[in-house]
Amino acid sequence: MSATGYNFAYLDPQTKRMLRRALLKAVAIPGYQVPFGSREMPLPYGWGTGGIQVTAAVLGRDDVLKVIDQGSDDTVNAVNIRRFFARTADVATTDRTAEATVIQTRHRIPEAPLAEGQIMVYQVPQPEPMRRLEPREAVTRTLHALADYGFMHVKLYEDIARYGHIATTYDYPVMVNGRYLMSPSPIPKFDNPKLNRSPALQLFGAGREKRVYAVPPYTRVESLDFDDHPFSVQRWDAPCALCGADDSFLDEVVLDDAGGRMFVCSDSEYCTSRQHAGHTGPASNNMASARLGRGPASS
């Protein structure tokens, strides 16, 4: 299946070396955005080119790769990126979080806990957490150098004053190792606590913006908040309709045009494993689960 005429994992060895150097620097300075010579990839900018370059730089022949988008292994973009590496690197792929050595993700962290030795690779559209507050890169770099994050605290305060809540629900800013303000990529804030002191190495790649950054294993990652408005994550009123999980991020599935709704795990592998283990939810065995293709019978 591997594509002939291209290097292992597509990138040439010099490019991989450049990327690994940038990644080493990123690991040495947790949360700091390291500029790198991002290459044009055969997938469009904004579709995971940063994550793909990072994965290509760290992938070895014995690695087992998992790719998810919105928590699912089966979304078209995840399928496409997994096919890309199956073609260019001929590595084993899996949808089991526990079996994977490298997990490339867009917008989610798997529900199953990560372990030492695993590498999470995040696709990042906008690495600069303050970009919407200050569009000029020359200015935001200075603010990082001075650790001057007043902008962001004022923004969060204004949210509370105006809406009664911090109105950021995904890509919720975090402080890494008490030093750098960092975008966790557009994961829901539900996933933010999983970043903190994770045993896995977490690498972030922004291809279009030409930056990589990292959170080494067991690094302190705190979501910004205030004493009287502590950080909190989303909660749902009901458990997953298919597997009964009450600890996972749920997607709303529209069942009909008469207001019918169902909430199911966004992490499709977590949901399927729970169903295999005999867990059931309120909508198990109905038509909807068959349509979702997540029932034990269809997988």
């Binding site: 044009e40 096919r83 559209p125 709303e252």
Partner: protein, 365 residues
């Protein structure tokens, strides 16, 4: 539901098959070949080469064929191929004064050494649809003999230079090697060589709009087309083992030198300043727009206020690349339902809270 359902891989393969079918069109009509595209759609090919940053007519024609004529898609295809190519080295700087000129015009001097040469231009064609091209037109009439041009034509702007009326264009002290934007990230502030590199592969439509904006009052730079020339230039490299330059071929380029008014300052007497544009192939509109934008971006160096969009380097340079822009605008069609779910939950909660005081008021009333 399309994302949640298994079978994404089959869907992707089917979509590719449909695309191939749509690209080929009616099989009863002869298939277009890349030599026809390169030979008869040369301006389309030139744009793909320029913004794809790869001078290869055959591959650019292939990209256009594969992209069914979509230039930005073709540019993307060529860039993605280009990135896999090894880098052998760098040529010595092109000498456009030694260009084998096919077109050369100046709007600032009626007569100049070597003369005005219109060459193959649409400029004075009176844009009437030529219905004879609907049928096979056959070979066009032979061009009457023209005098051969001299090997070296001085640039129109050099004539001003002799009198010191235009700023000299000299290498920076130490002649530092320019940044290679295809290998290194764009940083700010960006020097002029880096900016020009960015503009040379920037989207023609974007540069046209930015350049146009400078003519409509958003940082007026009083431009004159000092000289536009198009033709073939030699490429030379200096192999380490030889130590002298050898020719390795030639490429077609278009160059535009814009002459702009500048009042002068305490340290500089009044003189004309320059804006510069250069692109692969016949690309006059692009290089003229590029020269306008280049001049506007020199505002800091010339002590001008940077009040307009075309003067703001971060704004212009960060948004000029159509492969970056096209990818990111279109990534919005990827699933975003996790982010959207997060927003939905917050909006519902805030709406519920907003409704509560109302309900309380109604009860007391």
């Amino acid at each position: 539901m399309y994302v949640a359902v298994k079978g994404g891989e089959t869907a992707i393969l089917n979509a590719s098959a449909l695309l191939a079918q749509a690209r080929r069109g009616d099989p009863a009509v002869a298939e277009i070949d890349t030599a026809q595209i390169a030979g008869q759609l040369r301006l389309g090919v030139a744009r793909v080469m320029a913004e794809g940053s790869l001078y290869d007519e055959e591959l650019a024609a292939l990209a256009l064929k594969q992209a069914a004529g979509d230039q930005v898609e073709a540019i993307f295809l060529l860039r993605a191929y280009r990135t896999t190519l090894p880098r052998f080295g760098y040529t010595v700087p092109l000498d456009t004064a030694r260009m084998a000129v096919r077109r050369r015009i100046s709007a600032t001097f009626k007569e100049l050494p070597g003369g005005q040469v219109l060459g193959p231009t649409y400029d004075y064609t009176q844009r009437l649809l030529d219905f004879s091209l609907l049928a096979e037109g056959g070979a066009p009439d032979a061009v009457p003999g023209v005098e051969p041009l001299p090997d070296t034509l001085p640039r129109g702007t050099d004539l001003l230079g002799e009198e010191g009326l235009i700023e000299p264009e000299l290498p920076l002290p130490g002649d530092p090697a320019p940044t290679d934007l295809s290998r290194e990230p764009l940083g700010f502030p960006a020097d002029r060589a880096t900016r020009l590199q960015n503009l040379a592969r920037g989207d023609e439509g974007f540069l046209l709009a930015m350049g146009y904006s400078t003519q409509r009052g958003y940082s007026h730079t009083h431009p004159f087309a000092g000289e536009i020339r198009m033709g073939e230039v030699a490429l030379e490299v200096v192999p380490e083992e030889l130590g002298f330059a050898i020719g390795i071929g030639g490429i077609t380029v278009t160059e535009c030198q814009m002459v702009n008014q500048f009042a002068g300052s305490a340290s500089t007497p009044p003189q004309f300043t320059r804006g510069y544009g250069l692109a692969f192939g016949e690309a006059e509109r692009k290089t003229m727009a590029m020269a306008l934008v280049d001049r506007a971006l020199r505002c800091a160096e010339l002590g001008e206020d940077a009040a307009s969009p075309a003067q703001q380097a971060e704004f212009v340079l960060s948004h000029s690349d159509n492969v970056e822009a096209g990818g990111f605008v279109q990534h919005l069609k990827l699933p975003h339902y996790v982010d959207f779910q997060s927003e939905l939950e917050l909006v519902r909660r805030m709406r519920a809270e907003a409704a509560q005081p109302q309900a309380a008021e109604e009860q007391t009333a």
